[in-house]
Subunit: 279 residues, 2 copies
């Protein structure tokens, strides 16, 4: 099996570090910077590095797209002639309906795109931040469509387990996007909104730990997240609206001095959080 | 000097654990449960325990109120005859204008109330959770008024340093409440609002770390925080409104697919957060 990894960043690099021995594969990689390819080859993480994505994909049985979503789509569109009949394509993007919709427009019927999303990350990015333990304890979401062949879905599941993911979960692109808009995107929206406030400039010495933790992800890759937000805009706008409504409910109870209502909301939230932690 | 600690919980207990040797004081404490008083006496943390707050305050030179705000006020109101002329009263509550306003109504002119707020806490409460290192690295806010005697303010500052606080900061009750409404109360509002969402029930396996961290403080003492929210309602309502407006700005940019605007907001938030971290 030949595997092509398109983009040797944090996720692509961390996948590559775990691929040795998977279906006795050879590993080709495309990356924008040649230095990273050289380093990965010297590390023994890849077999061949290419500055041209088409060359990396030539004869590949499995292509793993690890760039930002739109760039993944562009690279497939521009290199269709390099994709072999029967190839499987997967990705690691944080948006799934967008990827399925865009790639279904482009790909021939004999190439199977199976969307995927490993739930792992770090505040730091790039190949230099990649590790062979990134996926330990992580879950791995796969969003198959009716077009996907069961034997190909099975290979992606096997890949997820091989790189160390603890839970492999099948879901739909829509369910993925609706829930990720909450678990991931809304959390980034909230952290950014909190730090957008001029109040933070008056906060020195006025904080224990809650400001620090609630805004951990406010140190954000603006290019990537602005793309993810707009590619999942319908679901994210719904989640932000729900958050505004929750805030309004708490604001009204506070303004009315309604401690019973506040206690009810807080107790429900605490129960929900504990249930989530215990799952 | 005789010091009376009213309420031997997490904060009262942690203060008591550091008081030995401060102006060669004796330490009396009031607590609702007798078992805690016995334990603290056996630990050598207090000299005398009282089930009646008035008895604990008899002849005290310094009274440290460590209960919830309204309960602190009630106990002072109900035990005025036990407070000696010239006594200093301080507190550790998360609201300061409320405390100053309520106690100024009650206290005679020869008793000095100086509001204070050590910026330290834990998710777990009670004397059993108190430690002698809780205030290490913490800041300690003092909110004097024009009525307070400078020599009394100096004693509170000395106390803050003695128990291990790293930064002692003088501010006004209003500034304290405006900023704490952001750094502490709004963070708890946001965490609660996020966990109030039914989406959390669909989130198993769909999350890396951002949901966990943004909602850390959603496991909340509902009785205490509902009181703090309503006692600081004007400032908190303003902070929630600002948060709703920030969310609306991000929502509109997302809905419009305006990536440039999103990037601008994100970059500003990242800069503000880094600046805060570096302070």
């Amino acid at each position: 099996m030949k595997i092509a990894i398109i983009g040797l960043g944090l996720i692509g690099g961390s996948i590559a570090r775990r691929l040795r021995g998977f279906h006795e594969c050879t590993i080709a990689a495309y990356n924008r910077t040649a230095e990273t390819l050289l380093l990965a080859k010297q590390d023994g993480v890849i077999d061949e590095g290419f500055a041209d994505p088409g060359e990396a994909m030539d004869n590949a049985d499995l292509i793993i797209l690890c760039l930002y979503p739109q760039l993944n789509v562009n690279i497939i569109r521009d290199n269709l002639s390099h994709i072999k009949t029967g190839a499987i394509i997967t990705d690691v993007s944080g948006v799934k309906s967008f990827m399925v919709k865009e790639l279904e427009k482009i790909l021939p019927n004999d190439v199977d795109f199976i969307g995927a999303h490993p739930m792992a990350g770090r505040e730091v990015g790039g190949y230099k931040s990649s590790t062979d333990t990134l996926f330990n304890k992580a879950s791995f979401l796969i969003t198959p469509t009716q077009k996907n062949k069961p034997e190909n879905i099975a290979i992606i599941r096997e890949l997820a387990e091989y790189i160390g993911c603890k839970h492999v979960v099948m879901t739909t692109p829509d369910e993925h996007d609706a829930v990720i808009a909450y678990t991931s995107q809304l959390m980034h929206v909230v952290a950014v909104a909190l730090c957008d406030s001029p109040m933070i400039e008056r906060s020195r010495y006025f904080s224990a730990g809650s400001l620090r933790d609630c805004t951990r992800v406010a140190i954000i890759n603006a290019e990537m997240w602005s793309e993810l937000f707009t590619e999942n805009k319908d679901a994210l706008v719904d989640r932000i609206t729900e958050m505004q409504e929750s805030l309004e409910k708490i604001k009204q109870a506070t303004a009315n001095g309604d401690r019973a209502e506040l206690e009810k909301i807080m107790k429900h939230a605490t129960e929900q959080k504990i249930k989530w932690l215990m799952e």
